[in-house]
């Protein structure tokens, strides 16, 4: 059992990544009740944006100098993709049945994957992503890489910034109002179309952070990487209570921990020896989702509010 601290650390790191991506699902759902299944691809394009920026920098440049440029590029690409999707695909469908934008989102997800596959140079296989220098660091029984440190710092700072933004700024207040009652928000003078775009953009920026962290951690980007990771992040958002920002982060952490623990320890359970290991981690993640939905359909950390009708 001496590897337990490492397993927990891995789970929390994975969970932070899910949580960052889950913000995008939860904010968009909270405001327009749309499950944006193309959000996984918004995340993926951020990874390619960062890689492109890195390749355009002179070779041999310090990665510490390159990192801010890569982050900026990732955020730019992801938010552009998300804002364009909102403008061109979702906004024209506003007011139609809920199924129409949902199917559009799935179609968009496939289309974006295929565009990257077809048009990004050599993207038919995974492309190598740079590593941050330094590390690994030994923190007691836990070993972490430099990229992991970046992930934790980015997740904590961006979450604090988002909570401050939603609670304390005029736009944040307008966002809360729009989530609670869009028509009445318009009567207050709030341009709800702009609030919706802002929600898409913020979610995309968080996904871009996660994409850079993902690239640093796994050393590659791949046109398919948004699919399963996006699905997991969506699961995290539902686990935490979709529509809730803190819920998304906590749901992400819960899911990451569950996956890491399942991969590490299920094999020791009598009768389940065959279902342990990394190959089954995804299965256990979705088993957790099903169990939580059976017991607490509103999600782990969400208060069930009566006014959601």
């Amino acid at each position: 059992m001496h590897e337990l601290p490492q397993t927990l650390a891995n789970g929390l790191l994975l969970g932070s990544m899910y949580g960052l991506i889950a913000i995008g699902y939860t904010m968009v759902y909270g405001i327009v009740q749309l499950i944006n299944f193309a959000h996984g691809e918004v995340f993926m394009t951020g990874g390619f944006g960062a890689l492109t920026a890195f390749l355009m920098l002179p070779s041999g440049v310090s990665l510490w100098l390159a990192l801010p440029v890569m982050l900026l590029a990732a955020v730019l690409v992801s938010t552009s993709v998300a804002v364009l999707a909102e403008r061109l695909a979702y906004r024209p469908l506003r007011g139609s049945s809920r199924l129409a934008p949902l199917i559009t989102a799935i179609g968009l997800s496939i289309a974006i994957q295929q565009m990257v596959w077809a048009w990004y140079p050599d993207a038919k296989q995974a492309r190598t992503f740079p590593h941050l220098p330094g590390g690994p660091y030994e923190l007691g029984p836990v070993t972490v890489q430099t990229g992991d440190v970046f992930l934790v710092v980015a997740a904590v700072l961006s979450m604090l910034a988002l909570m401050w933004f939603v609670r304390s700024t005029r736009t944040g207040r307008a966002m809360q109002a729009t989530a609670q009652d869009p028509d009445t928000s318009r009567l207050m003078g709030i341009n709800t179309d702009r609030i919706i775009v802002t929600a898409f953009a913020i979610g995309a920026a968080f996904a871009a952070l996660a994409a850079v962290a993902h690239g640093l951690r796994y050393g590659q980007v791949d046109f398919r990487m948004g699919f399963i990771t996006g699905l997991k992040a969506f699961t995290a958002a539902v686990l935490g209570g979709i529509g809730s920002i803190q819920g998304a982060m906590l749901g992400g952490l819960a899911l990451g921990l569950a996956e890491a623990l399942a991969a590490g320890y299920v094999k020791f359970l009598p009768g389940l020896e065959l279902f342990g290991g990394g190959a089954w981690a995804n299965v256990w993640a979705f088993v957790l989702l099903i169990v939580v939905l059976l017991i607490r359909p509103q999600g782990l950390f969400s208060k069930l509010t009566a006014d959601r009708a």
Binding site: Q176, A177, Q180, D183, R186, L187, G189
Partner: protein, 238 residues
């Protein structure tokens, strides 16, 4: 008197169903004008069209010299038209103060906003006592006060109130009607939609009776109050 609001041959449809079939009326500055009529007469549809939540299919709306048809809702508030919607629609998970602040969303004068919030608390002391509470915890009557206070926060030239007495106890209803009378005496221009015709007509300078999308009768408040057909149809007398 100058017409603050002028509605001419207004038509509004939901799909193929025409809910408002060519109505015309005006609201002059300083007046209280009421639209009365049964459920489904098109009163709420009319207000929702004036504030830009619905798009008219025909006719003209002119407010303070601006044509309103096709202008998005958030720009209509900026012109000075505030709408307190049917069913109150306060923001349940925000506090009372935050609800009032949202009513002043387009204003930038911090001190003026603070003063107007205080005025709302003076008008409705119960709101002041509960200012830090989530608005969803208020009773129906208190929520109605908040909705009215919130609509006033934009300093509107015209205040539209949709069914302010709906679902309220008689005491609360009286309190709301007294407040409307008070606003009227301070010169606030009001367009009032009510099912409680008696109360609305007693307050109004002019009234229009709507039936299935049309204005069937217009007159001064007292005239309509004493009109035999109105008494029969809306005041429960026979």
């Amino acid at each position: 008197m100058t017409a603050l609001l002028e509605v001419e041959d207004l038509r509004v449809s939901y799909g193929k169903i025409e809910a408002v079939k060519g109505i015309s009326f005006r609201v002059d500055e300083g007046q209280v004008v009421t639209l009365i009529g049964t459920n489904g007469a098109g009163k709420t549809t009319t207000l929702r069209t004036l504030s830009g939540l619905l798009k008219p299919t025909g006719g003209r709306i002119s407010f303070d010299g601006h044509p309103l048809a096709g202008v998005p809702a958030h720009k209509i508030v900026a012109l000075g038209l505030a709408h307190s919607p049917e069913g109150r629609h306060i923001f349940p998970r925000l506090t009372i103060t935050e609800n009032l602040q949202l009513g002043a969303f387009l204003r930038n004068d911090k001190e003026g906003i603070a003063r107007d919030i205080q005025r709302a608390y003076d008008l409705f002391p119960i709101l002041g006592e509960r200012r830090k509470q989530a608005a969803g915890t208020l009773s129906g009557g208190e929520q109605q006060m908040l909705a009215m206070g919130r609509a006033l926060m934009s300093r509107p030239k015209l205040l539209m109130l949709d069914e302010p007495s709906m679902g309220l106890s008689p005491i609360m209803m009286q309190k709301i009607m007294e407040t409307i009378a008070e606003l009227r005496s301070t010169g606030t221009t009001i367009l009032l939609v009510e099912q409680n015709a008696q109360a609305a007509l007693s307050l109004a300078d002019r009234g229009h009776v709507m039936e299935i999308g049309k204005v069937v009768l217009s007159g001064t408040g007292p005239d309509l109050l004493h009109d035999e057909s109105v008494r029969k149809a809306y005041l429960g007398e026979d």
